[in-house]
């Protein structure tokens, strides 16, 4: 792996975080390949797959498209009005790489501010991305939460 690749992947993750924090979700959706998956495994069995355990999120592109539409609608009460969010993405590691696919891990802390309260979501990403003409696209965007229980968060109403 070259330093250039590492920097390019890092920049991709930072740009993605900026899109999410500024709620530019239509542009964010363009970062996904049409067969991509966005998922969050269960809190207590994150090592298990989506046929063996109840994930919190397992969106194909139809569902993810709907999720984004719902953010833009009026009746997603949990995010209307929208939260403020801020994401820190770090500790990037490129785990494997070939011409079609890069497997990476990175740590995250996502802060959500609403109703005078701050909720923090901590965990790591296990992404699979594909190099494309001007950057990368997600094949699988997986956010693994370290939280044992969503207390006080209560919900995961934003993209993690």
């Amino acid at each position: 792996m070259t330093t250039d690749t590492y920097r390019a992947v890092e920049q991709f993750l930072f740009d993605e975080a900026a899109l999410l924090d500024s709620w530019q979700l239509a542009d964010w959706l363009k970062l996904f390949r049409e067969d991509a998956i966005y998922c969050i495994p269960s809190l207590d069995s994150p090592e298990k797959g989506p046929q063996d355990s109840l994930y919190l999120v397992h969106d194909d592109m139809t569902r993810l498209g709907s999720r984004v539409n719902q953010f833009s609608g009026r009746s997603m009460w949990s995010e209307n009005p929208r939260s403020r969010t801020r994401r820190l993405v770090s500790n990037l590691r490129i785990l494997s790489q070939d011409a079609d696919e890069i497997v990476l891990s990175a740590n995250f802390a996502v802060f959500r501010m609403r109703h005078g309260r701050m909720d923090t979501y901590v965990g790591h990403y296990e992404h699979r991305i594909a190099p494309v003409q001007d950057g990368f696209q997600f094949i699988e965007r997986k956010a693994v939460l370290d939280l044992e229980v969503l207390n006080p968060q209560g919900k995961v109403s934003i993209i993690i």
């Binding site: 063996d52 009460w77 209560g154």
Partner: protein, 436 residues
């Protein structure tokens, strides 16, 4: 009648059949004194859900849970019997179970090394020199709740030694529990992946919310008009249910349980992978017959098992919750699946579940938002009462779109909080029809 508590001046529950009015004082959601009394007078007087036998796969399998606010070990002993112990060393109190799940032939307290077998018997006391004859090992096993019983593998405990047996307690709810569990040719099992979240709201708000059709159209507008539209579902069936056009039944039972029972509109389970659903339908017809299969897949029930367990058939879930403060509840929820589901069916069931339920579903987060906003709203205090009268004035009796199911749980709650409280006797349209 009215429920008055010493702690507050105004009545807590106003149950006025003559004027078709049912009101609950918001202090019932906010007052720490009421919350403390609930532990003794409600939770310690009822059967409380612990877990399902399928979660303990073999001898020595254990899980730790909190039930009624008490830390317990849910374990299958060396001979295969399911047991529940308090997770507290009889010596000095430390927890004896490390980790929230696993396999063990012994639970050892790391404080002084006392160890217990999976039957809860005291097996080891290190350095026993110095104890007199008072050290009776037979009385120093792990503590256990006075009662532990199960229905079809659903284990409940009770802190009330002379409570009626579990089957009597569940009573009229049992056919609906069967509907939740009859979902596959093989036995129902709890899937891996527990959903664990707190809601900063009073626990009774979640009980009310868990069988509330009235809120569906507004609170869950995005699930219906956005998500289901985006996946191409036909909304007409859902509109009919929301309007109460069809047979939206509600029933209440002894001991405070209630169920709403309605037709079901299209869900992802039916439409995402039609061939997978067709196979499931065929298997259920073969096992249960065409009528029963049509009921299992064509109707939806939300069942409230008083005080704190909910089962919902649209997503085949069981959830339980407990107040850690007047304005904070901890909730645990699980998916019920078939033991021998194909990977495709299992994925379809999970996809159906999380399309609505759970912390990141297209339904639950808006319930959490609503409940927390209610709790915030109670701080206004200028509005002392919640109103739960819908359906009391409906000629012919309440239907599922009304609030009878909430009144049922409140009536039981008030009766337990004050034995002098006489709950109003109200029969739904379905109950009146059945009595004819």
């Amino acid at each position: 009648m009215e429920l008055h508590m010493n702690e507050v001046d105004a009545p807590v529950v106003i149950d006025d059949l003559a004027n078709a009015t049912f009101k609950v004082n918001r202090q019932a959601f906010t007052d720490p004194a009421i919350w403390e009394l609930e532990r003794q007078r409600v939770f310690d007087q009822c059967w409380l859900y612990v877990g399902h036998e399928s979660e303990l796969t073999e001898a020595g399998s254990f899980l730790t849970r909190k039930v009624g606010g008490r830390p317990v070990i849910f374990v299958r002993d060396g001979e295969g019997e399911v047991r529940v112990f308090f997770d507290s060393c009889p010596h000095r109190g430390n927890s004896v179970c490390r980790g929230s799940r696993g396999q063990a032939d012994r639970f050892t307290c790391f404080y002084h090394g006392w160890a217990f077998n999976t039957k809860g018997e005291l097996a080891v006391v290190p350095d026993p020199v110095g104890y007199g004859p008072g050290l009776d090992r037979s009385k120093l096993g792990l503590g256990r709740p006075p009662r532990l019983e199960h229905y079809r593998g659903l284990y409940f405990l009770s802190m009330k030694p002379d409570i009626v047996d579990l089957r009597t307690y569940l009573g009229g709810a049992i056919p609906y529990i069967d509907s939740m569990l009859d979902i596959a040719v093989a036995d129902p099992v709890i899937a891996a992946g527990e959903q664990a979240y707190n809601i900063k709201a009073n626990w009774k708000l979640l009980l009310e919310n868990s069988a509330d059709i009235y809120h569906g159209h507004f609170t869950h507008m995005r699930f219906f008009t956005e998500f289901l539209t985006d996946v191409g579902a036909d909304l007409d069936a859902w509109r009919k249910i929301a309007r109460g056009d069809d047979q939206n039944r509600v029933e209440t039972f002894d001991y405070g349980h209630a169920v709403i029972d309605t037709p079901i509109g299209p869900l992802p389970l039916f439409s995402d992978k039609p061939e997978v659903f067709a196979k499931l339908n065929k298997a259920l017809v073969e096992k249960f017959g065409a009528d029963r299969a049509a009921q299992l897949l064509g109707r939806s029930q939300n069942l409230l098992i008083f005080p704190n367990t909910v089962m919902i058939s649209s997503w085949r879930t069981i959830r339980t919750f407990y107040p850690v403060a007047p304005d904070d509840l901890e909730c645990r929820a699980w998916a019920i699946v078939g033991a021998e589901d194909s990977p495709e069916l299992r994925e379809a069931r999970f996809g159906n579940f999380i399309s609505f339920l759970g912390p990141a579903g297209f339904g639950t987060p808006d319930d959490v938002e609503a409940l927390e906003n209610c709790q915030r709203g109670f701080a206004a205090a200028g509005v002392p009462y919640n109103d739960l009268s819908k359906g009391m004035g409906r000629p012919g009796g309440a239907v599922a779109n009304d609030e009878l199911q909430m009144r049922a749980v409140w009536r039981r709650w008030a009766e337990l909080m004050d034995p002098d409280f006489e709950p109003g006797i109200e029969k739904s349209a379905a109950m009146l029809a059945a009595a004819e």
